[in-house]
């Protein structure tokens, strides 16, 4: 429901500015968006960031590479393990540490559980943005099972610091395996319920169809990745495009849609949960025995000089760590490319000429995690 921008160009004096945020229910954190409105149509959008910036990149330059691991979890509190994974992957690549196979399996299982958890929270919160109150409680009910499973093995519920350079900090046990299998069964049985309650709902479809359309070209110009990009028909997933860890061993699909609107990314995320379940199932079946930590990881991890990059697929898109090392054990420069940052930058173009309600649904479809943007 976009209004013709051209015809309104000369009527700027009718416009006024609405401050959405920093405290607004649907900005999911301290994000502020200045909306220049024409009636209820948002003609210009200007996101204002930096309210919760924690200078992680500066902190990284002041301590040994290994000590930065807990900080990665604080950047994206929903995909903490995947952020752990990316960072561990970067250091292992840079320092040439071999990871035992069992550790990689555990990493994949827990990362995928983390991804489902993130998607479930997004699912609930997005529906809350759209005005449905109940789905978030059902999604949290499922999500709570994941948190319990992960708490049992990692020890924390949200900001995990579980992966280490060269493995994981704790081995999983039979209880983990059985409860994960039980969870897979449970979530599968819940999908039809979600379909009935939410996905098929005519109101939801009307709200999401043809709203916030993206094209692959637009995504390339803004660096939009993740489910939003896959919603435009590009099957770009770091797990497949630049395989890391043991993902090539698993048989899973990359869900894509073609329209590129909010409904497309909605469905892509929803189907990704099923694919993650498939990966977990295969990983549980093939779980090898063995150590979970590399035998020899130097206490002081020195990274040879040069620059290193590790990209993983976070729940929201491509996460890249870029490390410039001067040969010491402290990074010379560490840059984290967070998916939400690039995804949010598309908002001014994506939401131009939209109704205020559509701005909310388009923003929700981005699945923003503000600490990831203000990292």
């Amino acid at each position: 429901m976009a209004m013709d921008v051209e015809t309104l160009e000369d009527s700027r004096h009718h416009r006024y500015v609405l401050n959405m945020g920093p405290q607004h229910p649907s900005t999911h954190g301290v994000l502020r968006i200045l909306l220049e409105l024409e009636g209820e149509y948002a003609m210009e959008l200007l996101p204002v960031l930096g309210y919760g910036h924690r200078c992680h990149e500066k902190i990284a330059e002041h301590k040994p590479v290994k000590s930065f691991m807990p900080n990665t979890a604080r950047m994206d509190y929903l995909g903490a393990l995947i952020y752990n994974h990316g960072y561990a992957h970067l250091l292992e690549k840079a320092a040439g540490v071999e990871v035992p196979e069992r550790a990689e399996y555990i990493r994949v299982i827990t990362s995928e559980l983390n991804r489902i958890q993130s998607h479930l929270l997004w699912y609930g919160a997005y529906l809350l943005d759209l005005g449905a109150f109940t789905p978030i409680m059902y999604a949290f009910d499922d999500r709570e099972h994941i948190l319990d499973i992960l708490e049992d093995v990692t020890g924390s519920r949200l900001t995990y610091c579980y992966f280490r350079v060269g493995g994981v900090s704790k081995d999983i046990d039979d209880k983990f395996v059985t409860s994960t299998r039980a969870f897979i069964k449970r979530l599968r049985s819940r999908f039809p319920m979600y379909e009935d309650l939410v996905n098929g709902n005519i109101i939801l479809q009307k709200r999401l169809n043809d709203v916030g359309e993206l094209t692959p070209q637009l995504c390339a110009r803004y660096g939009v990745t993740g489910p939003l990009l896959r919603g435009t028909g590009v099957d770009y997933d770091m797990r497949r495009a630049e395989p890391y860890s043991i993902y090539p061993q698993f048989d899973f699909e990359i869900p894509t849609e073609t329209k590129g609107d909010c409904m497309a990314s909605f469905l892509v995320r929803f189907r990704e949960m099923e694919q993650s379940l498939r990966i977990i199932e295969q990983a549980l079946d093939g779980l090898p025995e063995g150590p979970v930590m590399a035998a020899k990881v130097p206490k002081k991890l020195k990274i040879p000089a040069g620059d290193y990059n590790a990209s993983v697929e976070a729940p929201r898109g491509e996460l890249s760590y870029y490390l410039v090392s001067d040969g010491s054990d402290v990074p010379y420069r560490l840059k984290v490319r967070t998916p939400s940052y690039s995804n949010l930058s598309v908002v001014p173009e994506m939401c131009q000429g939209m109704l205020l309600s559509d701005v909310v649904s388009a923003m929700g479809a981005l699945d923003l995690v503000i600490p990831e943007i203000d990292r």
Partner: protein, 183 residues
């Protein structure tokens, strides 16, 4: 996308195009650009269907280095392009070619003070307005290193991609860095 074709076009813009080992560094190509070629390079990359992964600045001597990372949706091709800013910390913007660069450039301006010439809206993004001159990620005297200290060393005899850290190699580098500091 035909990589050889693209490579030929890169060669018209840059003389130093390195093939690097993806398994070690996570990049396929390392391209050093003159700063007046940055816009041409970005235009070329956009035409070839690359997307902008990241844009950042690294503070080294002789000048701040701006690093562009590109990747492709269809084939694995990670490109690292770098260019130095000029004496006034200025470099041409690519925000009108890759709109996603807009925010990255504003961030680099906040954190390193790199001025992107002709940027549509070079307003502080992360810092508050009054902290514009803070430039928090600039290295202090003593920690600032030369560009050669943070460059990958040429592959020493038999460089296997997945080996343990070589202690002698690791120790040799800080010394090089130290000598840079002293100079």
């Amino acid at each position: 996308m035909d990589i050889n074709q693209v490579k030929k076009q890169w060669q018209t813009l840059s003389t130093t195009i390195e093939d690097i080992d993806y398994a070690v560094s996570g990049h396929d190509y390392n391209i050093c650009l003159e700063r007046d070629k940055v816009r041409d390079f970005a235009t070329l990359m956009l035409e070839e269907g690359f997307y902008l992964v990241d844009l950042m600045a690294v503070h080294v001597t002789p000048a701040i280095e701006v690093v562009y990372q590109f990747a492709h949706f269809e084939t694995r091709c990670r490109v690292l392009a770098r260019a130095f800013v000029d004496d006034n910390s200025e470099i041409a913007t690519i925000a009108d070619i890759y709109q996603g660069a807009n925010w990255h450039e504003r961030e680099a301006r906040d954190l390193h003070g790199v001025v992107f010439v002709d940027h549509p809206y070079l307003f502080p993004l992360i810092l508050a307005e009054e902290d514009v001159d803070l430039k928090p990620l600039l290295k202090k005297e003593g920690t600032l290193k030369d560009i050669d200290a943070v460059r990958r060393k040429p592959p020493e005899p038999a460089p296997e991609p997945k080996t343990k850290v070589k202690p002698e190699g690791a120790e040799a580098k800080p010394e090089a860095a130290k000598s840079q500091e002293q100079s």
